[in-house]
Amino acid sequence: MIRPLLWLLGAILLGGIVHLSTVLVMPRAATQDAYARLVPLTPVNAMVPLAAPTAENAIMPLMDPAFAAAVCRYDLSDGAIKLNAPLSQAYTSVTFYTRNSVAYYAIDDRAAGRRAIELDLMTPEQHAQVPEGEDVTAADRLIIESPTKTGLIVLRALAPEPGLMPMARQALANAQCRLGPVQ
């Protein structure tokens, strides 16, 4: 009588292990995550506007239709990235995602303070090589460390009314994302 119960207990324990490991492996195994969806649509290390979501067609689910969006799919293998994003009139934000869609940093126009959001993105190793003393971190430019070599920078500009969407798109059109040394 006790033996089937032991088998059952073993199965439940093993099932728990299967459950936890599949949950942990899922982000690596996913073939349709945001990054994978953007690979065919975006070049590396360049800011590209994203098509607005419609009922028939959306690049990703749950995109906010009130926003114009642009994305920079980055690869830090060849050096650090410089991001320069002029602000739109209403609300602009920049969010940094790892290869697996984890939002590790986000900043909006008010926090950025000026008329453009200017950031340097680099790996922790590249950051360590930035010569100290040279006031690279001195308020002027913000340095962000990326936990992964590749990832996504998503720039979003709000169109408070549908008629203001061209303005929001225009603000994003001037944004730049390129490889560049830290001066």
Binding site: A55, A58, M60, L62, A90, A103, R110
Partner: protein, 192 residues
């Protein structure tokens, strides 16, 4: 023979339990650290590096990009305050006040996160375009047929979700109660 049968049984059962639990948690969107106010639920940690493994797996499956914590916070609703599931053939009235935020948007999606086709091509409202009464309050009618005032068309679909996104807001990981974040009420009216 008995050993073989027993181990086969255990392995099959283990696979079924493990994969079944994974499927259930990921399709239902289970995540820790939720903040529920009325009918609205947010997962502020999902927009930061503190995101839990379940939310990570869910996001990898759906392909969405969560709203970053420094950007804003998204509240999701699937039912009204009384627990009635949203039905695109009924009228739901959203009214009241919103938490402090520089801007907010309200968007209607189908349960998979796609926008819903409708005759006037409207998928939501922003805080700037909503019509308000003299005291600054607003009422939004989520309904299949045209309504005066703030009408959010459902396209007549059976199930939908509403997402309320607050941008540049103090609401976040540290928020605990409805007092800090008063979310609008949702009530079901007539069904057609």
């Amino acid at each position: 023979m008995r050993l073989l049968f027993g181990s086969c049984f255990a392995l099959i059962l283990a696979a079924a339990i493990g994969l079944g639990a994974t499927w259930l948690t990921i399709t239902r969107g289970v995540a820790f650290g939720s903040l529920t106010i009325g009918a609205w639920t947010a997962w502020p940690k999902s927009g930061s590096v503190d995101i839990d493994p379940y939310a990570r797996a869910t996001i990898a499956r759906t392909g969405e990009l969560p709203l970053g914590t420094g950007d804003g916070v998204a509240f999701y609703a699937r039912t009204d305050d009384a627990g009635n599931h949203f039905d695109g053939r009924c009228t739901f009235i959203i009214s009241g006040v919103t938490p402090a935020a520089r801007y907010w948007t309200l968007t209607l999606y189908d349960p998979d996160g796609h926008l819903v086709a409708n005759t006037i091509d409207r998928h939501g409202f922003t805080s700037a375009e909503i019509l308000r009464d003299i005291e600054g309050r607003f009422t939004i009618a989520v309904a299949p047929r045209a309504r005066p005032g703030n009408w959010l068309p459902t396209g007549g679909i059976e199930r939908y979700i509403l997402v309320w996104r607050l941008y540049d807001t103090p609401i976040g990981v540290a928020t605990r109660t409805a007092k800090e974040a008063p979310m609008p009420a949702i009530a079901r009216k007539a069904c057609s």
